[in-house]
């Protein structure tokens, strides 16, 4: 039985997808499959890799005649998977196939679980990294259930948000049951993924529809950023605008939510805001009382800027958009502060259940290697069930 399908949609970054898949297939378990959805201009590298591996756990979906929009590549992959559960990661990310064991244990503990998530860890590939970067790793390892109402507050009311909602439940770096995906398609427009920000699109729908949610605090995947990835835009403003521009070009008419005057190129908060607002508008979900939290998230998006000019540009951009959206009184609630202090040394060690460490620890050259290193530091997957007993 295939318990888990790990989906890796990719476009023109074959080497990254190959590195991730190669590491995953080293895992001896038989209850997962790796499905690569190749949307590259050149199908040869991945075809050669699949032939070389000749592993029944690896499935390659070759490119179509013309390049697809990202969400269409994601969309076409789902019907070609066979796992009872599905998870999607980027080609420069990594995910541990032992997630299948976590799913098995979570289902025994919470039979109705339809959405599973885990702690977050982040890796910047050496090609995109500053000389010294500090990353964090959650060190708790409890298996917890979360209430839908609390997740709704996080996803739609921006409660406890950073520069984006802190709701990790969805198909992207989260696992969802196949039944839930099918119900999602039936409930919403006959598609699995609608908005170009497929990750947040999935979060909105999962939070609305899933019966039960389980979180394992221990990271099971790595969010990677390489020079070519969209998330690189979060680290470099010019790249960010270019990448968002490319996404917009793919889906111009459907990206922006009506009556939400935030240019999507402003930053991550504006972009995610459009995804959530589009979803709410399309499906007639009217909420009030979330606006102040959203404005706070906009301020945080400014405050992540290490560069004072970038901070000023974002502050002006968000300020104007907020005023156009809800008037001058709303703008008064928007109070970003430039906080970056390059001369204060970064903390290393353990605080607030997080490990702060130099990303170069162990000299990982890829997201998969990085996962191998953090895996040595984290609670072991094979002891999870025993601890719950």
């Amino acid at each position: 039985m295939t318990r888990l399908s790990i989906l890796i949609p990719t476009r023109n970054r074959q080497a990254f997808a190959i590195d991730a898949a190669r590491h995953m297939l080293k895992n001896p378990r038989n209850d997962f499959e790796v499905v690569i959805g190749d949307n590259s201009d050149d199908p040869a590298p991945l075809a050669a890799f699949a032939a070389e591996m000749a592993d029944p756990r690896l499935k390659l979906i070759p490119p179509e005649a013309a390049a697809l929009a990202m969400r269409d590549n994601w969309e076409r992959m789902i019907p070609q998977t066979r796992g009872e559960w599905v998870t999607i990661i980027g080609d420069d990310d990594y995910l541990d196939p032992d997630l299948a064991e976590v799913i098995r244990v979570a289902q025994r503990a919470v039979p109705k679980v339809e959405s599973l998530s885990w702690g977050r860890s982040y890796f910047t590939w050496p090609d995109a990294r500053a000389p010294r970067e500090i990353t964090t790793l959650p060190t708790r390892s409890h298996l917890r259930t979360l209430e839908k109402k609390d997740l709704m507050k996080r996803a739609f009311f921006w409660e406890e948000a950073t520069d984006r909602p802190t709701c990790p439940f969805g198909a992207y770096h989260g696992a969802v049951r196949r039944e839930l995906l099918e119900r999602t398609r039936e409930t919403f427009s006959g598609r699995y993924f609608e908005h170009a920000n497929c990750d947040y699109d999935s979060i909105c729908k999962t939070v609305m529809l899933a019966e039960a949610f389980v979180l394992w605090e221990r990271p099971m995947s790595v969010f990677g950023t390489c020079r070519a990835s969209n998330s690189m835009g979060l680290r470099d403003d010019a790249i960010g605008r270019e990448r968002v521009g490319a996404v917009l070009a793919e889906s111009a008419e459907s990206f922006e939510a009506e009556g939400f005057p935030f240019p999507p190129t402003l930053g991550i908060t504006a972009s995610v805001g459009h995804t959530i607002e589009s979803f709410k508008k399309k499906y007639g979900i009217e909420l009030s009382g979330w606006e102040e939290n959203f404005i706070r998230a906009c301020a945080k998006d400014c405050e992540t800027a290490a560069d004072r000019d970038l901070f000023a540009r974002r502050k002006a951009g968000y300020g104007m958009a907020i005023e156009a959206w809800k008037g001058p009184s709303a703008r008064k609630l928007f109070k970003p502060e430039y906080k970056y202090q390059p001369n204060v040394p970064r903390f290393l060690g353990h605080a607030d259940d997080k490990l702060y460490f130099d990303m170069d620890m162990g000299g990982a050259k890829s997201a998969a290697e990085f996962y191998g290193i953090i895996d040595s530091m984290l609670f072991p997957v094979h002891l999870l069930e025993g601890r719950l007993a």
């Binding site: 060190t139 390892s141 202090q341 204060v344 040394p345 970064r346 903390f347 290393l348 060690g349 353990h350 605080a351 490990l355 702060y356 460490f357 130099d358 170069d360 620890m361 162990g362 000299g363 191998g372 290193i373 895996d375 040595s376 530091m377 984290l378 609670f379 072991p380 094979h382 002891l383 025993g386």
Partner: protein, 399 residues
């Protein structure tokens, strides 16, 4: 005069020793020296290495005509040390010479300081992993001035009731001021080191004598364990018995390990490191008139803790039997009723629970990309405060 002498006594583990020398020599620091005291059967290996190794910070003492006991080899190493402070490590360990900078900082802050302790990382060499093993990295970095009465209660009277008492100070993986070492020699038997269990005997003397003891939570050294080390006994009972026998044989001219007033023997199927440490602290307290009130009760608790820490029922039973024999023979059986271990609680998952607990990171060693204690130290330094910030007293960090 260098601030610190790192003493490196070694016997018949030349390959590890050379690796350790190279690791320490990698430091750019100039404020330390290393004394390598070779007690090997074949002195030519290290002698040949030193011919091609022109680092003035390092000195080699050749083997004598006969094999020395470990304590005697330590003694001559100490006699050759020239630094203002002394630290001993094993030949399969690592110590960061920059700990000299920490010592100088503490000397400025606490003029009476005579003993500096720090946390250690633990690392098993790849050849010493007969079953899953965990490496450790202490993650915090505060400084504590020790309360001597508390240290004495813990080490001499075992007030914690745990299988091993906390020491935290001593010449082994700690630094002791030379003037204190000289005072120790004068006061205790005319030698720097007397008892075969040199690490704990040093802790006893330092804790009894030092004016001010300062501990830093940041690790500065790595306790390495290779397949040939005594600490490998912690992973295998058979190895422990073999090592204990050799140890007893080699130290027969020193203080006797077996004492009629503490009849828990080291060379016994049911023995453990707990027994060896207790024999040492007991010897010290009896010899030098340290109050032992409460020790029997606490040692009984420690013995129970040792038994309950067994990985399986076989080891539990053999240890319980060993302690029973000892308690029956000790002081006319006066304390034997205190040793009443509960039934074995079931096989324990041993050395597999990686993760962070109490600000110590436990790592599944097989997955760690490090082959030596030094590589492991460099790896671990990515997650702990930088030496520069520590010795500058930096307290403000951005998260």
């Amino acid at each position: 005069m260098a601030t610190l002498t790192i003493c490196l006594p070694t016997r018949n583990r030349q390959a590890y020793c050379i690796e350790t020398i190279r690791a320490i020599a990698d430091s750019a620091s100039r404020d330390f020296e290393v004394v390598v005291a070779d007690n090997s059967d074949d002195g030519s290996v290290l002698a040949a290495f030193f011919v091609g190794f022109a680092d003035p910070r390092f000195r080699l003492i050749a083997p004598e005509g006969r094999v020395l006991s470990m304590v005697d080899n330590w003694e001559r190493t100490m006699a050759a040390a020239q630094g203002r402070w002394i630290a001993f490590i094993g030949d399969d360990d690592y110590c960061d010479p920059r700990v000299a900078e920490l010592i100088r900082r503490y000397e400025r802050m606490f003029p009476d300081v005579e003993a500096v302790g720090w946390n250690r990382m633990n690392f098993n060499w790849p050849d010493n992993r007969p079953r899953p093993t965990l490496a450790t990295i202490p993650l915090s970095f505060d400084t504590y001035v020790a309360k001597k009465s508390l240290l004495a209660d813990r080490l001499f009277r075992w007030s914690e009731g745990k299988r091993r008492p906390s020491a935290g100070f001593g010449a082994y993986h700690g630094a002791v001021k030379r003037s204190l070492m000289d005072r120790i020699r004068k006061k205790f038997g005319g030698r720097y080191f007397e008892h075969p269990m040199v690490d704990y005997e040093s802790s006893c003397k330092v804790i009894a004598e030092a004016k001010t003891l300062v501990h830093c939570q940041r690790p500065f050294s790595v306790l390495g364990a290779c397949a040939a080390s005594n600490s490998a006994g912690a992973l295998s009972r058979k190895t422990m018995m073999e090592r204990a026998k050799i140890f007893e044989e080699e130290t027969k001219d020193n203080i006797a390990l077996d004492r009629s007033d503490f009849p828990f023997t080291l060379v016994d199927q049911g023995s453990s490191i707990c027994v060896g440490v207790a024999a040492t602290t007991w010897w010290f307290c009896r010899t030098y008139g340290i109050d032992l009130t409460g020790f029997p009760e606490n040692f009984a608790k420690a013995a129970i803790h040792e038994c309950m820490s067994s990985p399986d029922i076989e080891e539990y039973e053999v240890k319980v039997a060993g302690f029973r024999r000892g308690f029956a023979a000790w002081d006319g059986g006066r304390w034997k009723d205190l040793f009443a271990p509960p039934p074995f609680a079931g096989n324990r998952i041993l050395n597999e629970t990686s993760g962070v607990l109490n600000d110590i990171m436990y790592l599944a060693e097989a997955k760690v990309p490090a082959r030596t204690p030094y590589e492991f130290y460099r790896f671990g330094e990515h997650a702990i405060i930088a030496v520069d910030h520590l010795v500058a007293g930096t307290r403000t960090f951005a998260r």
